[in-house]
């Protein structure tokens, strides 16, 4: 049986843990293209994260991670479009690891090995995250250029640049153990439900071009990785700031069938209830 490892990449508060929890629910309930063949032996971490969603709350990774030593999700899965079972391994990783990597250009060697052995990656950025750092404007830059006063805020790296650096790291290391295969990177724009109607209708690629133009250009012209951009909402609404949605989620909707993925292909934008779609795309060689 083939074992395929993916790696989750993204800054703190980019939506990795909640997606992993929702992915577990989807795989367990056979909601999508990837479904669990058997119940995994160790589900402590990912199931604990799912418990938050089931109670109408988004998981905070610091709350989930403190209690569990094994922070990876490993499941024997079947793809509906393949007869070959595959072990899918997705280690959850703290956003701080990637933030430190961007700042220092260093990574613990175990994570470099994971990158090299992974067949693909999921790269996260969250809509409306308060961790997003906007680029400089001309006024601020001019003032900084002429100022002699040291300022610690000078060192804040814009999120667009952080994403470019993460993309560069993936280009350098992802999938190296598998030879010349061009590794796949699924870019997940999480909390898609928080976008206004106009931005949402424009699709995930337009969102990236508008909000993160450097990163958008970088992945569009990468020669070392193949990237695809997805909009993702793990439960279809905001459990933090929309009490009506939360109430409906808890009393009527539930997690089964909740959430959606926005897919963009050949200029056409569609929506799917299959939360496994980005993972399926990374694992497969065909288009989405």
């Amino acid at each position: 049986m083939v074992s395929k490892s993916l790696v989750l990449v993204g800054a703190p508060d980019s939506g990795k843990t909640n997606y992993l929890a929702r992915l577990w629910a989807a795989v367990k309930e056979s909601e999508g293209m990837i479904q669990a063949k058997d119940l995994p032996q160790d589900i402590s971490y990912v199931d604990h994260a799912l418990e938050y969603l089931l109670q109408g709350e988004f998981a905070r990774r610091t709350e989930v991670g403190d209690e569990h030593s094994n922070r990876s999700f490993s499941v024997i899965a079947e793809r509906k479009d393949s007869s070959e079972p595959v072990e899918v391994v997705v280690p959850d990783v703290s956003g701080e690891l990637w933030r430190e990597a961007v700042e220092s250009y260093e990574l613990p060697v175990e994570w470099m090995v994971r990158l090299e052995n992974s067949v693909g990656a999921l790269l996260f950025v969250r809509v409306d995250s308060d961790q997003i750092v906007v680029p400089l404007d001309w006024v601020t830059s001019r003032d900084l250029l002429i100022s002699d006063v040291p300022n610690d805020e000078r060192n804040a790296i814009p999120t667009d640049v952080q994403l470019c650096e993460l993309a560069r790291f993936l280009e350098l290391a992802l999938g190296k153990a598998h030879g010349n295969r061009r590794a796949r990177v699924a870019v997940l724009v999480t909390a898609w439900d928080r976008l206004n109607g106009v931005d949402a209708e424009s699709g995930p690629q337009a969102f990236l071009r508008k909000e993160f133009p450097l990163f958008s250009g970088r992945i569009a012209h990468s020669q070392r990785v193949q990237a695809n951009v997805f909009g993702v909402s793990v439960v279809g609404g905001d459990l933090d700031d929309d009490p009506d949605f939360k109430q409906e989620f808890l009393t009527e909707g539930g997690i089964a069938g909740s959430g959606f993925v926005v897919i963009e292909r050949d200029g056409e934008i569609t929506q799917s209830k299959d939360l496994t779609t980005p993972v399926h795309w990374v694992l497969s060689t065909e288009g989405c």
Partner: protein
């Protein structure tokens, strides 16, 4: 093979010999090899940094693909850095028409100069192009890289390596004909001479500014006597006013007197809200003129060009005189 070494006195890239007599793959002072990650002795893996590009990095990059070298000269405070920053901010704000961002191996370098995090130590400007990757906090003479795709036409991508030098190097070129550290200009595809536009427009400083410019172009003409790349006079501070026709004509005359086919672009890297131009004015035109493909006239790259200015392999290209309209 090139390698990045923490030791500033190591000349492996030039001599092939490790200062500590290690084999290249085992030296503990190496941070990356050939731009690829490597693991150190403390179980940490290192990615190559994306700060400004040293001479060694430039050589490594150009060994892998063709890059267009843009030599940027100008006296202190002419606005050289501001031009580069403004170009970067236009890209970061998705406001550069005609071009889109594709890549930069020095993205953090652009971010740093845009924040003023690295500025020249005026009392001790760097003496030469930096050879080593381990850059200090002080500004080091180096290069910045940008790969741009064209969005307005189907032209080829523009892969630029732009020099980031202290103004004092230009001053010393003029005053003492110090050319040793500017040998890379012999490999330049385009040269920008950045001029403080406010000095050209002000009566009290106009004549002196023109005099020094004439000297600079003369020095440059002598340095590049074998091959003259296209020359662009980048006149800054356009937000404070435009040049008159007479000044524009004079600039062309200065250029042609030394054998250059010169163009003039007025830019406003920054601008007050009350100005009649927006921040970044002229940068798009500057980029278009810089990346315009030369007319191919069937002439081979001159055999007697000093290729070893950057110790580069010979690149077989067809080049012609740059005669497109001004």
């Amino acid at each position: 093979m090139t390698a990045d070494c923490r030791r500033e006195d190591c000349t492996f890239a030039e001599t092939g010999e490790c200062l500590l007599s290690y084999e290249p793959s085992s030296c503990p002072e190496r941070t990356t090899v050939d731009g690829e990650p490597r693991v150190d002795g403390q179980d940490r893996a290192h990615f190559p940094p994306s700060r400004a590009c040293t001479l060694r990095d430039a050589r490594s990059l150009m060994a892998r693909r063709y890059l267009q070298i843009v030599g940027v000269l100008g006296e202190p405070n002419a606005g050289k850095t501001a031009c580069l920053v403004s170009l970067y901010l236009l890209l970061a704000r998705n406001r550069l028409r005609g071009f889109g961002f594709a890549d930069s191996t020095t993205l953090r370098g652009f971010e740093e100069i845009s924040r003023g995090a690295r500025r020249w130590d005026r009392t001790h400007p760097p003496e030469e192009l930096t050879h080593h990757t381990e850059l200090t906090d002080d500004r080091s003479a180096s290069f910045l890289h940008l790969r741009l795709v064209r969005t307005s036409d189907a032209g080829p991508a523009a892969d630029l390596l732009m020099s980031d030098l202290p103004g004092e190097w230009t001053t010393e070129l003029v005053a003492k004909e110090r050319v040793d550290r500017l040998a890379f200009l012999k490999r330049a595809d385009v040269v920008w001479i950045v001029i403080d536009g406010s000095k050209l427009r002000t009566a009290a400083t106009r004549q002196l500014s023109r005099h020094r410019l004439d000297l600079l172009v003369g020095r440059l003409g002598k340095l590049l006597s074998d091959r003259k790349p296209p020359l662009i006079f980048v006149v800054t501070r356009r937000d404070q006013g435009a040049l008159d026709d007479g000044s524009l004509t004079e600039l062309h005359t200065v250029g042609s007197r030394s054998g250059f086919d010169a163009e003039v672009v007025e830019v406003a890297s920054f601008a007050e809200p009350s100005a009649d131009v927006v921040p970044g004015h002229g940068i798009e035109e500057l980029l278009r003129k810089t990346t315009r493909s030369p007319e191919h006239k069937g002439l081979l790259w001159p055999d007697d060009i000093v290729e070893d200015a950057l110790e580069l392999p010979r690149i077989g290209l067809t080049r012609g005189a740059h005669t497109d309209g001004k």
